[in-house]
Symmetry: D3
Subunit: 200 residues, 6 copies
């Protein structure tokens, strides 16, 4: 959206400042995560809430994973979804209707615009995440899936139905390369995953 | 999302039936219109609500516009936003981050998938709308803008601020080719548009 | 409510114009359907959303039902609940506390007031619906029940409880005279209706 | 709605018990006050909230009003809107579409059904209120208007627009016969009423 | 918060008047009950709604309990939670982090401030409740627990999960000294309590 | 609340694990910030959203502030409000009703319990923040105020009234010791602060 003036008007043409960025970021509170929204979860997680949980999970688990740059992983988590400010949270089913790579490229461009007033290290974090270009980026990606499944577990514990398919699709599971993440997910699954339906 | 079974699970692989379509359409209630959402309108219009208003406006105004196929215009209105079921309501600011035409093509493909169980006339209506390929399609498009500005007026009358920019961007105004739409918009503007700021 | 001025004030005394009608209709977004509301469904369907779904279902099914005036059925669907703008969505349990026919008569009068600025064909559609005075009106009525049960199915698939009584009351089922509606309902029931409790 | 079983099912046929009444009353939380709802107040007052405020205002002011049976006035306030459980909160504009007195009679019948399991004194309180049949009933009625205008004031102080018409319609003002209520309303008006527009 | 002026500003320094109290009380609508909130109940009960239900339950049951001052019990119920206007609804788990008695003392002080403009009998009701200093106060306390379990039952009947622990903690059950309350709770439990898990 | 099992039940007695912590943290989404809540902001910021914004602001500004341990400041921001999971977001007006220091001590104890499964560095971050015991902690505290005023600005730009008092109370302003924070706040104030009322 860009800059916001006192009467809620967007400012045009000016180079966005750091303040413009800070103000625009507040809008992430209003963006619901589309996967929950479309499955009827009431008052579902916003992108801001998701990003908070992710950053804290990353901080907690990265400290137990040897050889990771924890601070780098945390800052990647903080910005990993900022592109949604301008693109929205495209449902997963939607990506296939775009040319291959178009969604990622759009997100990369949007994030670059949004983060233009930030320091270079931070704005580079977005692209690094999208590309999985570092061990830290891949760690955040694994934690992103872990956080998804934690939230699904919480919603199910609160009575939400229709989320079992999350447990059936291995794309939602963090990969095995990070031992701490994998172990945490294994415990989550043991405690919360629905019982398998009887075979036959 | 596709088919939904009794436990909220999506059914995979099967050809979607008419019932699958009807069930999926119910989800349009949960999709907020992103332009309002990102400007903080509480409990803002859903895509289903927008589509209802549009269809009824089209029916009301088309009856006064000579030489229009009213029934065709109404059915186009009913389906003009179904692609958002799978793509979401991409904020207007987001389209420019995609390759030229990519958003429209994605919407066309998604709508074709969603409407596959419908009769050919109806599913062709979506593409006709996107392309502005008939007078009826262009009429719906004009009414789409009129409905946007009516809703903006209502939200402002309820105390919402930060919407003045809608009144400043002529892209939000219905074009002049349909006399009834233009006249209705002129009256709306007269009653609700914010006073111009003093020159100088 | 009648006409709305820029400061949210209602305008009194003037004959309502078409614009007044369009503005008042926007308020249908805020009217929840009382049957869901009173059973605790969070963020439940608005009358506008219901009307959208009904109109689209009517369009989809009427096209498969021989000898129906599809356009007429659709426009009846679009206005079938406008009286609720002034009467509210009286819970079904409430009608019996009024003199016989009083609710229908009140709705007829309210709809006539609301739709006064519309063309005669449209405003006649409301009374036609209430009276079931045409095959199209009866078709819309059947689809109204079908849509109710589709929504109940969706809410149950999302985890809402306490809706089983809808499946137990045949008044909620579309009558058998329209083959397409009946067949769609049969498939819905097969997929979503709760299993009958064991006899005994 | 009547009795509720553990699976959310309504129980039919049985005489309602006191427990049925207590359970049904909880539903008043979900009934929004239609006057606010239709003017776009987000998350607006429920009938239960209104009834709480009314009962406490009655208790506070009745204690300063000589010769009133305070306890009687309070219990009337607690039940004065229970009929809305079955009738809904009919918008004020809607009453005129019913035969004269039909709304009051319907409310009286619904309240009698709802309150059947209560002691006679309490269920008689409803009819007493509707008829304004005692000084206590008329006092509650005056406080009902005072509470309305207090809430309007609070919503306006929070930024809601479009409520000025409440201040213009003397039907919303408590009558003058109760000095404490009148004095409190006078102070409210002084502090919160919008300035009169310039004459001419 | 204290006094509120027309532009939503708090007034400082002045002694609060009765009107200030009435205005501040309206805010109880916005305070959710933390026990439900933290367990994911959507649009959960506000403190105002809880107080309404409690006052009405007290009125209904006290009339059947010999030797109680019904009016006194009702007025205690109306104010028993006003301290939450300034303290919030501290989750039950939180009290143990404060020095013994600190929460009660804070609530007593806050209630005294809030109720300063009320008559002495009413403001004394709060302290009486907190201390359980009269039979009426203890009766309200028993009903407070009964109302909690009624609401839990309703939420469970609507599909909310994760509330079973309320049924497992006897601190949530009204004590046995008031026969009417105990009998009502016994019937509630019989109808709504989850079946005990099989032993073993 | 502690550990959560699959059926939403809290687990008792066991030492909380890291997974218990991650699950409990998700609940921060449901905790609204009381200052906004009590002033009628609809769908107001959750503690999780606030913490996200704070962490990202800290990361953005700390990078421009010489001699700060950026990573430490960010991790302090991520946990600075976790105590609210058990204590709630006590309104500012409420603290004075507790013995001096009781609120801080309660928060410290609650945070220690909550963060017990975390590494020592992280759980020490909470106490460091509360005590303002490091330059990083004080920097986070300054940014906490900046974020508050940014959010107030956004809500005002969206039409919320009644927030002007935030601009009048210097306790809400970040202190001057951090040049970047002070400069950002100065720009915010210039753009968004309400004009001073005319003197006299």
């Amino acid at each position: 959206m860009g800059a916001l003036s006192r009467d809620g008007e967007r400012l045009r043409g000016a180079n966005p400042t750091l303040l413009d960025l800070l103000v625009e970021l507040e809008t992430l509170d209003r963006l619901p995560r589309s996967g929950y929204l479309l499955r009827g979860v009431p008052d579902c997680e916003s992108v801001a809430e998701h990003s908070f949980h992710l950053a804290l999970i990353v901080r907690l688990l990265a400290a137990r994973e040897p050889g990771l740059d924890v601070a780098r992983a945390v800052e990647i988590a903080l910005v990993h979804d900022v592109a949604e400010l301008r693109i929205g949270d495209l449902p997963r089913t939607g990506a296939r209707y775009f040319p291959a790579g178009a969604k990622h490229e759009a997100e990369r461009l949007a994030a670059a615009d949004i983060l233009a007033p930030a320091d270079a290290a931070l704005s580079a974090g977005y692209a690094e995440y999208e590309a999985g270009a570092s061990r830290e980026a891949r760690f955040v990606r694994a934690c992103d899936k872990l956080q998804l499944m934690i939230k699904v577990s919480v919603y199910e514990a609160w009575g939400q139905a229709g989320l079992a398919e999350f447990w059936r699709n291995p794309e939602n599971f963090p990969d095995e390369q990070f031992a701490t993440v994998a172990a945490t997910f294994a415990r989550l699954r043991e405690r919360f995953a629905p019982a398998a339906p009887p075979a036959g």
